[in-house]
């Protein structure tokens, strides 16, 4: 209820200010304080056949408002909420990020709060439904995946021209991930939980990314990220020393090429998570516990290619886009959540505006192990997704 009231109030106040801003164009001087409500929404229809067993559903829209406040030319606050329906038909509100940035000088930007981590590029740049060319995140990158999303802490970032190239840097200290020891969710023992608003230990996690744009036209970007720290709880004698070290490598190439009469867009990322080995416990039917351990390394990767004939003569043809993506996820062998999955996705998109897209995707996933899949068996899921997404 409280959340609803806050949102209604926020919306109302924005309309008033938007109206006031309107007037500024008719002769008033714009104020130095600015703010906007932006965001996105999406909805769709999904059909999936799990080893031939078909199910289909319409998906209620989700609504993701973003609040952007600019108190001065050097200060910016951004916050994102997400409203979704969960599988029990309840509305869930997520609080994705809320952070303040301060432009220290041409090369240094300081950020504090809960922000999306620049660990690779998918989370920070590509996940919103109106940016993602496909209807879902690659394997291992979505909610419950192994890719870190947001962190709470402080970050310094900046861009530096180096001749005709450009170097991007990001360094941050955050509360960091927490180890799931499996006490409450035995099937998730050894996984990392990424959203820690209050730290579970006094060790902060540190991370950073370096991005290099070697060409002056900024078409190519190569990035390397690292993120690590202690993940066990402070007072937990069994796990307090367990640490984790995560790496990611990313690539982005986007260019309008007259040879193909359109925009060629390539995006790829490879994530590797290494968590120190620890002992977890499996509850037997008689109530006793059996200790077990495993080499806790997992990885997730994707490579995506899309093409839009922006230079075609016909206005309708210009708005079509073709996309293909390969993604792969390997969870540790011996873990209760052990799995190996491979996925191919193909799609045809039609862009109704620069931020509104109608997507039709076909996707095939082959999964060994993991939720609902008996050990040693392979399950194939074929899906058809029809989604629309709109940024506003």
């Amino acid at each position: 209820m409280k959340v609803r009231i806050i949102v209604v109030l926020a919306l109302l106040s924005c309309y008033t200010v938007a109206w006031a801003q309107e007037e500024t164009t008719q002769g008033y001087k714009p104020s130095s304080t600015q703010f906007m409500i932006r965001g996105y929404a999406h909805a769709g229809f999904e059909y999936q056949a799990v080893d031939g067993d078909a199910r289909s559903t319409f998906l209620g829209s989700s609504f993701v408002p973003i609040f952007i406040f600019k108190p001065s030319d050097r200060l910016l606050f951004e916050a994102e909420l997400g409203f979704f329906y969960n599988s029990r038909n309840e509305v869930e509100v997520s609080f994705e990020y809320a952070d303040v940035s301060y432009i220290v000088n041409d090369y240094i930007i300081l950020r504090m709060g809960k922000f999306m981590l620049p660990f690779g590029t998918f989370t920070e740049r590509l996940h919103p439904a109106w940016i993602n060319r496909l209807s879902n995140a690659p394997l291992g990158f979505g909610h419950g995946g192994i890719a870190p999303a947001a962190g709470t802490g402080v970050e310094v970032r900046g861009a530096i021209p180096v001749g005709s190239a450009k170097l991007l840097y990001y360094v941050y200290a955050v509360n960091g991930p927490r180890l799931n020891t499996g006490v409450d969710e035995p099937e998730e023992a050894g996984q990392l939980m990424f959203e820690n608003l209050i730290d579970n230990n006094n060790n902060k996690a540190f991370g950073g990314r370096l991005g290099l744009l070697p060409f002056s036209n900024s078409s190519l970007e190569l990035g390397a990220s690292v993120y690590g720290g202690t993940v066990g709880d402070r007072n937990d004698s069994l796990y307090s020393n367990v640490g984790a070290l995560l790496y990611a490598f990313d690539l982005s190439y986007v260019r309008q090429l007259s040879a193909v009469r359109g925009i060629l867009d390539i995006k790829a990322q490879y994530n590797i998570n290494n968590v120190d080995q620890a002992t977890y416990f499996e509850e037997e039917l008689d109530g006793s516990f059996t200790p077990y351990t495993f080499n806790n390394s997992s990885n997730a990767s994707f490579a995506q290619l899309s093409y839009r004939p922006t230079m075609a003569g016909n206005d309708i043809v210009k708005n079509f886009e073709l996309v293909g993506r390969y993604s792969n996820f390997q969870a540790p062998e011996g873990a209760e959540w052990e799995q190996q999955s491979t996925q191919w996705s193909f799609g045809i998109n039609y862009w109704l505006s620069w931020r509104t897209v109608f997507k039709v995707n076909y996707q095939s996933t082959v999964q060994q192990g993991g939720h609902g899949v008996p050990a040693g068996e392979t399950v194939t899921t074929n899906g058809l997704f029809v989604h629309w997404a709109m940024g506003f």
Binding site: I109, L210, S218, E221, Q256, W354
Partner: protein, 88 residues
Amino acid sequence: MKNLKTILVFALPLAVGLFLAASCVSTKVAMKSGAQLWGENCVRCHNTPSPAAYNDTDWETIGLHMRIRANLTAEETRKIVEFLQSAN
């Protein structure tokens, strides 16, 4: 401890890189127009918005938001925002 070492391995080259980089000035970006920088940069993550999509004050806010989100340089941001404001 192992983690700290690995982080240092990444942090040291970064620090050296920053020091060297800060002493160079990009000649290429300096020669480019706001329109060209808009065409090259704003398409890297999402479709390029047209200048008409927002008014002058909105472009200021979006310019700052994208400068931070996309880690654009100060000069790129200034030129792009000026272009968008002149062409909307």
